[in-house]
Symmetry: C2
Subunit: 671 residues, 2 copies
């Protein structure tokens, strides 16, 4: 690589890009860990993007109509942190860069959206960023359709590496973006030919250009170190009606002795290497220092969008109060007060009508009343629309010619769907929910974990939530999936017992601001158990006494979802034998855990035998069965300890011994 030629051809650009490279080398050296090569390779692309195209104002990082910049290759986090520092983001003084990868710094090893503004999403697990980007771009289309181009008119830019493009989720994202012709999405592929193990060729020979074209993308190939070529490519990409991929041929760890090697991917901390690289760049400033002219050029870039932002604010102020309020409401994630009213009305109606329906159907009944009053909801399904019951009458289908449509046919892409929902939620203005079979939580899992880590309130509608799914068999029957979701920090897992609890669960899920929810819903019909209407959201307590003992209390049965009905029948059997039995419905363990100890003890007093019933594994139940410090109760569990089988649901409940009789027997064996 002829660095000297690059320096001479575009000296101002070169020095601005060199600032990113120098800061990267300095921060990685200070941390003695991190990834140097990617920021060094992509500094030119980033410089052109931030100085010529990206619509942003560093002094107003939450401006709703800013372009979104997603660093899918999150290990190159110093690229982003350098840009945020150089352009003048208040939260990124030089101290933050000096503190790279240290406890409490905003400059975590990989970008974490919840640490500072300017970090639009959390990346690092490869492929997530590009899949988030699809959600960002969909959100922009939807909001533009709803609020008009005057208020919503921006692009989503994404830098993806070879790792992102090897991950399967990238296929789902690319195909979905191509199908939806998301013309505002522009992806830079950092085509450096290097992965951790060595050359990309070791494991991949995919023709990425042909691949993106096969999915309906506009594709260009450029030298990723040529600022003119980068500029022209972005200009062309913005003009295209299709999503754009710009294949940028780059040199990882440009200008260092580790250039074009897998060593260059990682932490370059050798003092001589660093000095030599800086010398090649013509960079003479001390570590973490930026020459004044370079600094002021970058700060100017950081102010490039100020005027546009002012203009936007003026236009926005001229809109009707109602429009302003609604826009601000959906962007802030505030829920209209009407939600509580429609939920209460439905609960009342259901307590009276007492339908015997599957809770997936209950969920649809809830959505039918919720979606009309929450225009920010966007539903979807991974090709199981009729089974997940996520599409209500008024939504319309999101499509190229119907950007106001609020239902997305995501296709058979659970992972891409979850990642797109994360992107929509991060964008703001949209409250996404989508469905698949509970068992396929597995496919969506990497993005579901990120929902929790990123603190986005997306809702996962997971139907067919047990062996109650029946004949499709063990490949489709979740057994460990409630435990998996419950094991994940910052996730609310709801398993409602009937339509009333389902309505309550939805109300809680839809009022979250920083926590995703998983709704675990049945395929099979269940009875309405909450037959006495209460305005209070009992599910918000996590667990509550559904039916108390009539005879002197000797047993407490705990259950969730479809098994609450079984617990109630077991209670009948036990009471008939004079064994006083309380039934506790526990639709959300996490919420119960948040209650104060006195309330938890009122629901689960010591001294009674406890038996939990759930058509899943026992893991997660012991805390409630045995008490957090143990010794509270003799306890037992009726559930699954193996995979399921293919047979009608009722046959399976018998085979696996999840019956009222088995529960009653278990209680008696413990008394």
């Amino acid at each position: 690589m002829d660095i000297a030629a690059l320096r001479t051809a575009h000296p101002e650009h070169w020095n601005m890009a060199a600032a990113i490279r120098a800061l990267t080398l300095d921060a990685v050296a200070a941390a003695n860990s991190g990834h140097s090569g990617m920021p060094m390779g992509m500094a030119d692309v980033a410089t052109v993007l931030f100085t010529k195209h990206l619509k942003f104002d560093a002094s107003a990082p939450t401006w709703a109509d800013r372009d979104r910049f997603i660093l899918s290759a999150g290990h190159g986090s110093m690229l982003l942190y350098s840009l945020l520092h150089l352009t003048g983001y208040e939260e990124f003084p030089i101290e933050e860069l000096r503190n790279f990868r240290q406890l409490g710094a905003r400059t975590a090893g990989h970008p974490e959206n919840f640490l500072a503004h300017g970090i639009e999403t959390t990346t690092g697990p490869l492929g997530q960023g590009i899949a988030n980007s699809v959600g960002f771009a969909m959100a922009e289309e939807m909001l533009r359709a709803r609020f008009g181009k005057k208020f919503v008119d921006h692009h989503t830019y994404c830098i993806a590496g070879d790792g992102c493009l090897m991950e399967g989720v990238s296929h789902e994202a690319i195909a979905l973006a191509g199908r939806q012709q998301l013309g505002r999405l522009i992806v830079f592929w950092d085509n450096n030919g290097i992965t951790i193990d060595g050359k990309v060729d070791l494991s991949d020979r995919t023709d990425q250009v042909a691949r993106f074209k096969a999915s309906g993308w506009h594709v260009q190939e450029i030298d990723g170190h040529d600022p003119d070529a980068i500029d022209a490519a972005i200009t062309a990409a913005k003009k295209s009606d299709l999503p754009s991929m710009i294949a940028c041929k780059t040199h990882i760890a440009l200008g260092s002795s580790a250039q074009d090697t897998s060593k260059g991917h990682g932490a370059l901390t050798d003092a001589t290497l660093i000095a030599d690289a800086k010398s090649a760049y013509g960079w003479t400033a001390p570590a973490f220092e930026i020459p004044d002219d370079v600094k002021s050029a970058w700060e100017e870039a950081g102010r490039r969008g100020t005027e546009a932002r002012f203009a936007w604010e003026v236009a926005f102020a001229a809109a009707s109060d109602r429009k302003q309020a609604e826009f601000n409401r959906v962007m802030s994630g505030e829920v209209p007060t009407k939600l509580a009213a429609v939920i209460r009305a439905l609960k009342k109606q259901m307590a009276e009508a007492q339908p015997k329906v599957a809770t997936r159907k209950s969920s649809e009944m809830v959505l039918e009343v919720v979606n009309p009053v929450l225009p920010e909801t966007v539903g979807g399904s991974a090709d199981l629309t009729g089974s997940n019951n996520t599409k209500t009458g008024d939504l319309g289908v999101f499509d190229i010619d119907n950007r106001e449509g609020r239902f997305v046919h995501y296709g058979i892409r659970e992972h891409g769907m979850a990642a797109a929902m994360n992107g929509m939620a991060l964008h703001g203005g949209i409250r996404p929910y989508s469905g698949t079979f509970m068992c396929f939580t597995d496919y969506a899992r990497p993005a579901m974990r990120l929902s929790a880590l990123m603190q986005v309130p997306v809702v996962y509608v997971m139907t067919h939530d047990s062996i109650g799914l029946g004949e499709d068999g063990p490949t489709h029957q979740p057994v460990e999936h409630l435990a998996i979701s419950r094991a994940t920090p910052n996730t609310l897992v709801f398993r409602p017992a009937d339509t009333v609890e389902t309505a309550e669960a939805w109300e809680i899920a839809l009022t979250q601001t920083g926590t995703p929810s998983v709704l675990s819903l049945t395929r099979q019909n269940v009875a309405t158990l909450r037959t006495a209407y209460k305005a209070k959201n009992m599910t918000a307590q996590g667990a509550y006494v559904l039916a108390d003992a009539e005879a002197k209390r000797q047993a407490i049965l705990m259950a969730t979802g479809s098994e609450v009905e079984i617990a109630m029948k077991a209670r009948d059997l036990l009471e008939a034998e004079g064994i006083g039995t309380r039934v506790v419905s526990m639709p959300c363990m996490e919420l119960f855990e948040m209650q104060d100890e006195a309330l938890r003890k009122r629901v689960l007093p010591a001294g009674s035998v406890r038996v939990a019933v759930e058509a899943g594994v026992r893991m997660g139940w012991d805390r409630w069965l045995l008490g957090e410090r143990g010794r509270e109760a003799k306890a037992g569990f009726v559930g699954m300890d193996s995979f399921g089988a293919s047979a009608p649901a009722e046959v399976l409940y018998e085979k696996f011994g999840i019956t009222a009789e088995a529960v009653a027997e278990k209680v008696k064996s413990l008394l």
Copy 2:
């Protein structure tokens, strides 16, 4: 579709294919559930494949050199069951088809490999079959290289649907197969244009032909109902040195009133529809009956390979005793007796040398002695070779020109890697293991669950198993992943504390025949704690007393992996205060659970305070802390209840309070 023309053009073929269609209609009607459309659409392809190309002998379903047939679109299971019945597989009498989707039948809703021979893999979760196929084809290449073409010379055929090709894992599989030029892999794409939600176009416009070509595949497009075209395409595919994709334009639910509709995807149970379809086929036989001429034509197809099998057996019998024995040994999964010897020798050496190394390094030390004596092992990594430590000196790299290589650079494809390992293990003759970061268990999860369900003894080498990973931060730090793996039925989860336990864990993992293993290994160095050599594999007990109380026992500390060292230090602190403390190392909860109660009680006697230490969530520990029926002990937990953070490992252990001091304090607070 002009059914009449098809019937007239190839009457014998037509009737044989119609038998599949009729049996499918009959079985789905009997079960009142299932998927009719796919077998009806792909019957022609399957008929040509089974009657003209597939090398198999229905009377010898375990013949090692048979072609493998993988139904990736597993919901079309009646296609497979019909073929197995018609060609005369002993385990598929007509009663099995009558019993479709009923408890105890071999004809589960989706194909389950462990229920009968002839079912090569378990499918249903979409995309898994095509990704397994890549592993099957790799195993064939490897074994052909090792044992010669005389003994190993077969193809892997796979039928994939639109759903398989939308799933991200298909991208990983296709790219890997293309990179490795797996010329013996032939995939039929059932291009019927229909998914559950409607037309494929609703969610996908990918040009699949261009997509496969972009990954280096040989691609043909044919009419999937034209037997001559099918025949010619398979012939051409077999000749190609590249993996082949044959795009078969088909009509889902062919010949019924549901043809070419999403209704046709599901269960067609309407009697009139069924009668009309059969009439269109010219099929007059009663339900579940096959006319003699059709039956005998199919049975002849089932015997097509008998001669080839005899010839193979003759050639095999002529090979040296040693070669025969070795081939039979690896195909049966039997482990050489040398394994125990090298493990014992290493344990002895390590107990003496007492290295302070990361357990991922320990794992490499084990593999260095194991791989030379187990030529059936095939290692790999998802582009983290140097971090997972899965590549030992003698393996060589599997590549187009080195099929004897035993290390696979899977690329950044955790999911495809896991699914390929499943395929290799199912093929037989190979014992695969591979690595990634423990946190990316998430990406591999759908295939890891299938390892467990399918009962294949693959080994997952999951390194960087806690916040001990340090600066890469919470996106890379597993917290809930031990719980996730432990929640999965039929999975052994090992978290060894030092090199000795790591050796023991590997010994157990490598001697499994029907259970996958997950090895959870540290990034950071840990002390050798098993300093007294014992020949006995203590890890096989699941948990054991590593150090007993010196003073009167008041506390039992339980720990795994890197936290055992912390527990040992806590014990020192407590004993110094006169609090007798036992330390139990618990490298494998599942194995401990299998011990008899008396042993479990000897290790964990009642009456002492119990504290568990693990840098993960508490879920899964309560059973050991509190006793299965509760009331055994006062107990506490020192671990994680949130995501981690980006900082050096030792800083994080302090921040999250996982220290010897915290453990000692927890004990004292409970006494």
